[in-house]
Symmetry: C3
Subunit: 650 residues, 3 copies
């Protein structure tokens, strides 16, 4: 595999339109000092590029292109459609988004458009056409950056155009209103629709809403935004077939189904803002890098946004300790990123993000922050061995956006966080240096030795067959409680749940018993014992084994004495069912047994807080995200990784 | 007294319209196996019965009636008006409810109608007429079930029709706008109205709203829904004079004044969903059963809805431990229920309540849950001795919906929960096996030996006279702080508060001193000492005795040294005033003295967590709601009641 | 300086329109018994004075004036415009305020008008004209009380008239849309406006709003209400040039810029409702009295509203312990108040404030409360020595409403409370009996020896020059972190922040490092050491000294080893910079050094919880706000101040 780019990209969002031109001179000089390869230009420039409807002003941007090109900086050109100018709302107030409570949001912030607004779409596409025409042939153009963080503020809108578009989407999906009624189970609570015109978006309602309607509106809303992306992409691709096109993801982001989005993009980019005051943020950070790589089918991706020091949108915004900016940048590279970019080049002087740190801080170039930027730029330029190489993984965790939505709906057995459940299984693998891919439901899993299937609650039949095929073909699968309880219409799989997985796992499930503690969320600890002895929490149930053997049983609670973990041999492989959430040690122990069966070993012989190891190409990266030095054993020899630092074993 | 039904009813909501007909065959077979006597049909079937306006489809329901009748199952026919079909909102968007913030709620959930919608009313009554005509003579018809859980989601609506109806209600109540102005005290804050047309519903406003306006809107809203009930009832009663009519209550439910509602119903039914993870839920459960019996004037009532295992609407939904479903069912019977029904017969496969347990779970008949259902059905059929018999009580607690609303309004001396205050007095009585009725303010209380009057804050003069008459006639009354502070217009009773109760109690009250702890709700503990020595909390005040003797005084706080509990002899009886909330032991000790004076003894010689005893007819039921065995002394002999079990002393 | 009034005013809001005339007879008798000098009449009487549009009824008010005058009671006449009658909303629904979410608030509460409503303004001014004509010459008239607690419930409205007025205000401020775009930094996030007509109020929006837009709307909203005040004032002043005019402030109140308001008023009045259950409430209370005196340029002011016992609007409303009503009244006098008035004379019988205590409680005159009122009235009448005298202060704390708004905006480095920061510096001064003025940014500070400048985040250049001039001229200034970070447009002061203060302080600031603790607000404690050794919290940063000497450095955290406190000699004076929040002891120690340099000594030789001392005229008042006796040393001799009491050293 080769990289999309000739070297590791380095740079950031560049907004010269917020500064006088005398600052532009210094910008290029400092970019060169810092080794910047790439500037992302124009993300929020629509109002400057088209100050009144149809009157375009490209002169300033021509100048920016020219200066960057003269300075040897490539341009990742944004389509500038992330925030329409205020005149759009003045001309087309119906283009503004509407909340589930019927509040029409106003201008003066950003992203103030309904995903289904025809006016927004029309004006946005005209702008994109103009940009493609004007800059498509510019030698500095490196890539197109469409929109920005789609759905981050307005994942859904409940305006009239959205409702009409939802009805059309439903008609396309279901064909007849009878099929919609069947899929949504509208015989419950007297919701039978006579026609698509009677259907509404799931806005504020007296009580719990129809779950399938809610999920369909989640799906529709992601699709509506994706259609905006592909409409822009199609214009750009037609104009510049050789220039790659992306939009920036936001890690584990619920409101856009990234499996669907990734298929429409030329390369994957991600925005990443971990909390420096959270000592465990590196775990989700590592996972999100693995997700980006997986979304791109293993190809290198770009870190499109991160920050050098502090953000400004948490209640209290800690600074990254010295070294952490470099550490997280190299972590991204080790997990497949061939570019490290920032929001933004120069810290803003005004506006809502003036306190968000940048590559050039308010204090200018003679600062700690800029010195670290320069050093990192120089270091990244040396990473030629790993550039474009693979990050091999034999273990995958299944991630499914429908299940994410379904698990976190109202009116379910218990309150669960989908991502917390995924990370509960990811963490022990990270701790032992086992690289993980994320896998899409329903795809061929045979490239992996082990697949973990946490809380896969809303599963298609085909996805269950794919898991069964994987196991039967010799794979090891671990499936947790609340998997395959529902199908993709959120209809219950009757008669023991699990569908096809009853064969895979050799069990059926009779009854759920979520752990509760009255009004409080302070859940009592339970235990399991047997092959795996561990604390457990959140969940119990009545599992009836058919062909499975019982690995562990519940020690207490409603299901005391009943199976908590089972193992089933199936074809060439085996499958475990886990009917609770063991503690971290219990999961680690179970995974240890599974990995051993599969012959998978990790890079770390013992785990330590903050320590992470991953191999890319022929290079092993060992990171220490903690604030104290860590001693690790690599290849049998003890090594110290300093605090907030890493070692690279070539 | 005889029961309305020939045996204890057993069954539940039956929604065959959610299933294919092959399932219907199994339904009747399983109902027979389980001893089901009664199926409640059609609660949410409007959209199925009238799929488009005026086009009725009864064929499927004819079939259901026929199958049930053939199987020996009686039908409690719902009027299906709980949720109108989506076409009603399409035809009449003004029929949708509007929140206090002006949000018009949408379809896709349930109960989406304004209580004052003329369109809803017109279509609902037409449907009821059709049902009465079609099924009124059916031999399987056992009762009518009107609507469903009135007010559970939409107790109030602020739409234009509601405002107009509120104005008419006010005009009927007050006659002239001058009288409204006087009642509402509109000279405060410049609220004087020139005409009824200037009056609005108490929607979102800049600050605290007029308290009497708020209370009148509470009353109006309950009345508006009750008018819907009586309109349906009148149609049914005219068509089928011999078929009894009910709607299902929801225990201690604030938003409908059940004293007014109960008078319009032929028999009382209740829905009951205690939290299995709350070890004290049996207390409020017992109280709610006593309330239902009291609402019906002592007549047997029906438990219309409960569940076998878990609900789905709490954040975390625990399962009832094995035995608890039976335990709570028999508790209901012991406290007057002659029917034990469930929501619902067969657990849903789709929709918002698919995770709500049922008589036939997702796993089918070969399950723990269904086996327990079968056993319970068999046991209930044997309860012929107690069927239709009385549950005698010599003690009553006064419950008053106006006071409930008034106590929990904004801008009051301190935050109090009306039901918590009632239960603080109910609990020690339950602990000692003293059966309690609930009494309506203003009624003749002479049937009781002891009446407890907690936080009766908004009292009519007549209600105070009734209490005084009760005491003067030989009764024992206990009245707590925050009683008779206001009249029914929420005007202060000046000159020492209490009104007529100043004579009854021999005290006046000079000044309130609520206990506070700054911003936190962690209130400091106080003490009282004297005839009753106890911890106390929430409240102190300056009590000035006239004819009363001081039983206990405050040990500390603002009112240190002043009376906390007084006793006044009045005519043939006596009355206690309690100016604080003693702890549970203190209340038990005080009630012990009061009961001893009145010659009332309980069924339990000592109290124990989870243990409850009640006598119905000639039978004593002793329940152990706790998870450990309990030793109790009954009639002097020690007896063990196993955990989650009961003993019946014939 | 002489007082505005011949003796200390005593009395309260008098609402006879809420009572029958027989009560009025008793009112005057009791007022005389209590020594009442002044009744504030008519605050909420609009609906009574003008029961329908244009139909005025003054007969009752004539009677009230006559009775009071006959009884020797002066009248502070309210303009009755605080709450328009319901008919205004019926005639002009557009006059009702609209929330940021678009909810139009309704009648039935109070203050239900948009600050920019032309209809409200027209009707209000007509009423004021009528009142001026009718009562301007009445011999009982003592002062005019305009409106009531402006902005307390509706500080901002987002209705169409408000948006139009905001646009006009912006046009007046900025002249051209280009200047607005520059000031608001609209090049960020594509917010460039083509005309003022495209600008909206900062209502609900998808994400963070433009900070300068938000601040301008804060300023506009205060100005809009102030324009209502001045419009009423102009009518009154024209009619009665010799009658002083006020409106009642609410202590530290964010939503009206009292520096601007105070300049438009003839005398300052304040409403004051400390929480009796908060043992530290006396601190903010003392500060608010100092603020009122400072707003009036040192002139005596009036306590317009307080209460005798308990309020009714907290969740739990504690009673003032015996003595505290007197204590807080004399505290106000000692800090410059020449009048002690209450809301209200007679406790209401109905309405939203019936549980708010008053001078005559529900229990009437034979009560603890009224006896204390009588005693206080008698005591106040004896305070002839201090009446009209000065409260000298050599120390000032700068308070700036723009910085208050800016500091507490969204999207800032960390969550801070502006008032908490001010009080952190006020408290040690209070503890040592140093009297403090509050100073306005940009004014001549040379009257003071020491000026403290906490979190003065949004500073004009002129204000920084004023501070620098003060220091250079011999003053001592203490400036904290987050000062002069921004200018008045909220643009960052680039290149080390601080602007002109870089010279004053001899430092620049390179980078902020707020203290965070992940999702929790439980911040870790840090330490500083050196000249001042102390705990510290909330904030660290990289401070680069130029001419300043380092007093203390950070012991730990991101900025370990870097300066935490610096001192810079500048001209004849010196300036300290404090880059964190030291603990109370640390601040006290630092201020001790600063005061010593300035030769300022306090009245208390040691601090004690609840103890406060202040000198007015030649009299020293020493207060003990705590519930236990305190021994203090005054002039070297130990003295006991009883709990909830004071001593006066003549």
């Amino acid at each position: 595999m080769t990289s999309l780019f000739p070297s590791v990209r380095f740079g950031g969002d560049y907004n010269p339109d917020q500064w006088p031109r005398e600052v532009w001179d210094e910008d290029v000089v400092l970019m060169q000092r810092a080794g910047v390869t790439t500037a992302t230009v124009g993300v929020f420039s629509w109002a400057r590029l088209e100050p009144s409807p149809g009157a375009f002003d490209f002169e300033w941007l021509d100048d920016v292109f020219a200066r960057l090109h003269a300075g040897g900086i490539r341009v990742m050109m944004a389509t500038a459609t992330a925030s329409p100018p205020p005149w759009l709302a003045a001309l087309h107030p119906e283009s503004l988004p509407v909340t589930a409570s019927g509040v029409r949001l106003t201008v003066g912030s950003r992203q103030q458009y309904s995903p289904s607004s025809s006016a927004y779409r029309e004006y946005a596409l005209r702008l994109v056409q103009k940009l493609a025409e004007r800059y498509g042939d510019h030698p500095a153009l490196e890539a197109w950056h469409v929109g920005n963080e789609y759905a981050c503020h307005v994942p859904r809108s409940y305006d009239a155009e959205s409702i009409a578009a939802f009805r059309a989407w439903l008609e396309a999906r279901y064909g007849t209103i009878a099929d919609l009624n069947a899929a949504w189970g509208t015989s419950f609570w007297s919701q039978g629709y006579g026609s698509f015109d009677e259907v509404h978006a799931p806005a504020d309602a007296p009580s719990f809403k129809n779950p399938t309607q809610v999920l369909d509106f989640d799906r529709f809303s992601s699709d509506a935004l994706l259609a905006l992306f592909t409409a822009e992409r199609d214009i750009l691709r037609a104009a510049t077939p050789s220039i790659p096109i992306t939009t920036n993801f936001m890690g584990f982001f619920k409101d856009a189904d990234y499996w669907k989005w990734a298929k429409q993009m030329d390369f994957i980019t991600d925005d990443s803002y971990p909390d420096p005051s959270d000592p465990n943020s590196y775990v989700q950070l590592a996972a999100s890098r693995d997700l980006m790589r997986s979304l791109g089918g293993g190809k290198p991706w770009l870190l499109m946004e991160q920050t050098t020091a502090a953000v400004n949108w948490r209640p209290r915004n800690a600074v990254k300790p010295v070294g952490v900016n470099r550490l997280q940048s190299l972590q991204a590279h080790a997990r497949g990123a061939d570019g490290i970019l920032y929001f933004q080049w120069r810290q803003a002087k005004a506006g809502a993000e003036k306190f968000h740190s940048a590559m050039v801080p308010h204090g200018g170039a003679d600062t700690r922050v800029f010195r670290e930027v320069e050093a990192l730029g120089a270091e990244l330029a040396t990473l030629t061995d790993t550039l474009g190489t693979d990050v091999p993984a034999r273990v995958a965790i299944l991630i499914d956006w429908d299940s994410w939505h379904a698990l976190e709906q109202d009116a379910v057995p218990t309150k669960l966080s989908y991502i917390e459940q995924l990370l509960a299984w990811y963490r022990p693998l990270l701790d032992s240096g086992v690289t993980v891919d994320f896998a899409e439901a329903g795809t061929d899993l045979s490239a992996y030795s082990v697949v973990i299937v946490p809380v896969f609650v809303a599963a298609t039949d085909a996805a269950l067959v794919a898991i069964d095929d994987f196991v039967a073909g010799g794979g090891r699968a671990v499936v947790t409680f609340q998997s395959a309880v529902l199908d993709e219409r959120l209809h219950v799989r009757l008669g023991g749940y699990l569908g096809q997985l009853q064969q895979t796992l050799g069990v059926s499930v009779e009854e759920f018993a979520p752990v509760a503690a009255g009004e409080s969320d302070d859940l009592p600890a339970l235990a399991i014992s047997g092959g795996i002895t561990s604390g457990a929490t959140l969940w119990q149930e009545i599992v009836n084994p058919t062909t499975a053997e019982v690995v562990s049983t519940f020690s207490d609670g409603f299901a005391a004495g009943l199976p908590a973990i089972t193992r089933n041999s199936r074809g060439e492989g085996a499958a475990w069912y886990v009917a609770t959430l063991p503690d971290r040690g219990g999961i680690a122990e179970l995974l240890g047994q599974v990995l051993a069966e599969a012959g998978v070993t990790g890079e770390l012989e013992s785990s330590a807080q903050g320590v992470e190891a991953v191999r890319r190409g022929g290079t092993l990266f060992v990171f220490n995200h903690s604030a104290v030095d860590a001693e690790v054993s690599i290849g049998g020899s003890p090594t110290v990784v300093p605090a907030h630092d890493l070692i690279i074993v070539g």
